[in-house]
Symmetry: C2
Subunit: 187 residues, 2 copies
């Protein structure tokens, strides 16, 4: 058996939890996993193909998943992954830990807000109105997404969370732009 201590360590993060989780319900091949992440989880997590493949390799080295290759017609061979018993145990441990865990929310877009006073009032207002419009569109998209029937329970739940956050961002921005329009904040 391979010496686990000499292996590059596994990060204890959401990405590992995601990959293990996707394999609990069924075996999947690499392309399938990446496709699911791209199509269904665009709002939930940012995980690129190359990173996923690298993590899958590492999970296999740690024996949390196992793979076998499958040929389909003349297609390139697929590497199909399944969860091992250790993998399933690890998944449950990670899941409990991360569900319990709470972390500071760091979201993009705050630095420009922080320095917005450096922009002339008119230009500032124009820019913020544009951001507002885009944000409204984003909320509309996510609302429609949530109605799609192909969203399974869990994905729906986490999408609902993101929507709640995005709506809050919208409300906050609306309020601020309103103040600016009524001239309440301009010095």
């Amino acid at each position: 058996m391979t010496d686990l201590t000499s292996l590059p360590p596994l990060p204890d993060d959401e990405r590992v939890l995601l990959l293990l989780g996707l394999l609990t319900s069924q075996e999947r091949h690499g392309y399938e996993i990446n496709d699911f992440i791209e199509r269904q989880l665009g709002c939930v997590i940012d995980l690129k193909k190359a990173t996923a493949y690298q993590l899958l390799d590492r999970l296999e080295q740690h024996a949390l998943i196992a793979s076998h290759t499958v040929q389909h017609g003349a297609r390139p061979t697929r590497k199909v992954y399944r969860l091992t018993e250790e993998g399933h145990a690890h998944f449950l441990k990670l899941l409990a830990a991360q569900l319990r865990h709470e972390e500071i929310l760091i979201v993009p877009g705050s630095v420009s807000i922080m320095f917005c006073e450096h922009l002339p009032a008119a230009e500032r207002l124009t820019a913020l109105r544009e951001r507002l419009t885009k944000l409204e569109a984003r909320v509309a998209i996510q609302e429609r997404l949530l109605e799609l029937p192909e969203l399974t329970g869990g994905v729906k739940l986490s999408t609902a969370r993101i929507l709640a956050l995005t709506r809050a961002d919208l409300e906050w921005l609306r309020g601020w732009v309103g103040e600016l329009e009524r001239g309440e904040v301009v010095p």
Copy 2:
């Protein structure tokens, strides 16, 4: 003059905007910049010391900032940075672009929510209550932070945004835990 085209390109992101922005009001040395980020911007952006130094070097190579060294007693020499004219122009351009810009909110903590059904109902509820408690504490911290007088206008504004988002997360989680407690969701 150095050939800018052969230089490693500058990312157009929040970090660059932040460093330039911190130098608009005053000259600052490296330590001062990193100290400010750590103390005041912990909620706003995640930028580590080493990354900041690397970006400062690059900004200087691109002539957006200039530096000179200063000796204070027997202390290690400080490298003091100031914004150049090009730097100021670039700052305003970046600022307008980023204020206008809207980006999907990807926040940590959603993957465990997505898979929470895999946990026995009792354990799930315990874990979520723990997360709720921590989240309440986080909101309390941020509310107190917002009252501190040393927060300047801009920092206050962006902190208020984060607080709005964190509160939304809290409300969402409260609602969900409530449903679970009343047994509305358990299958």
